[in-house]
């Protein structure tokens, strides 16, 4: 469980840092978005990954698609930019996850 908690915090922190580097303003809002978006996607992704033995790449693709919409709506981006942002943050956090865990 502590391991899960660490992975969750690393995911939130990673995405928050990327958002901060991209937008460079209003950090409390970015932190808030990072927490609620990951609180929605991370547990569901973990559930599918561990319980249905779905591959890591398939889970990441699903997360990128869902987060594309969430980031687009929350940050008022068009869907193409939302997809770009979602791809970037998830690629970076996935790499961190692979390296750290």
């Amino acid at each position: 469980m502590i391991f899960d908690w660490l992975a969750f915090v690393v995911t939130i922190s990673g995405e928050f840092v990327v958002l901060l580097l991209v937008f460079r303003k209003n950090w409390p809002k970015l932190l808030f978005f990072s927490i609620i978006v990951n609180s929605f996607t991370w547990p569901i992704a973990s559930y599918f990954y561990y319980n249905f033995l779905v591959s890591f790449v398939a889970v990441e693709i699903a997360v990128v698609i869902v987060e594309t919409f969430l980031w687009s709506w929350l940050l008022k981006l068009n869907y193409l930019r939302g997809l770009g942002l979602s791809l970037t943050v998830n690629l970076i956090t996935a790499l961190i996850g692979i390296i750290v865990f």
Binding site: M1, W5, V37
Partner: protein
């Protein structure tokens, strides 16, 4: 500024709730005033089925944690794992060499894909040997208790109630509490009520399990989604 404070509060609240959950549910850590006790599960009537060998397959978080030949005196399942399958194989179908290979595979597995591969191999082995499998889920209630509690260990005695070529049923028959002063207390576990169909599996209900299981995977993302929707609606109405 007020909005920033609210957002920071919500962030801290979410992190706080998750931290609390992470530290309390399935906590492996022990406080100064707590102690851990052993939790031993035994099947006591395997000798009545001398034409069978019995295995236990221990499923951990990611896959099979261990697979072992079980004798009546062996303890299995300390209670930390997700569940344990007890397997009965006719002696004429049992091959210790093949089991050894499986055990090596399980002991050397590392990556997630490898877990799935091992599970497939074990499933194939069980199919080949016409094994009968029954599942036992465990409660780890007694793992960590207050230090001043005189309870030293708990033996959970299981009995095979049915074993033939089509059915295998295990039932918890007795709990034996051993105390530090040398005394023991036995508690007979009630039989299922007439009409209850065990269907070759054993499960122990754990009322606290619903909250623990559903908090992370249902309530937590549900609350997050609700917050996202509320935020988007508030912004829409503010604009309007």
């Amino acid at each position: 500024m007020r909005w920033k404070n609210i957002l920071v509060f919500v962030c801290l609240f979410f992190l706080g709730v998750f931290s609390f959950y992470a530290l309390t549910v399935n906590a492996d850590t022990m406080g100064d005033n707590e102690k851990s006790i052993t939790y031993c599960n035994q099947v006591d009537n395997t000798k009545d089925y001398s034409d069978y060998v019995f295995l236990t397959i221990d499923y951990g978080d990611g896959g099979i944690a261990s697979i072992a030949l079980t004798k009546p005196s062996d303890c299995f399942g300390p209670g930390k794992h997700e569940h344990i399958d007890v397997v009965a194989i006719k002696k004429r179908n049992f091959n210790s060499g093949a089991l050894g290979q499986l055990q090596n595979g399980v002991n050397n597995q590392s990556a997630e894909n490898n877990y799935a591969e091992q599970e497939t191999k074990v499933a194939d082995y069980l199919k080949r040997t016409q094994a009968m499998t029954t599942r036992a889920d465990f409660i780890d209630t007694y793992q960590v208790i207050p230090k001043n509690n005189t309870l030293a260990s708990v033996n959970v005695i299981w009995q095979i109630t049915k074993l033939n070529e089509t059915n295998f049923d295990l039932q918890k028959s007795k709990l034996v509490y051993k105390y530090t002063n040398g005394t023991t207390k036995e508690e007979i576990v009630d039989r299922p009520k007439p009409g209850y169909q065990a269907v070759s599996s054993v499960s122990v209900s754990d009322e606290s399990g619903w909250w623990a299981d559903n908090f992370l995977y249902v309530i937590f993302p549900g609350a997050a989604l609700l917050l996202i929707v509320i935020f988007l609606l508030m912004r829409k109405f503010k604009k309007g």
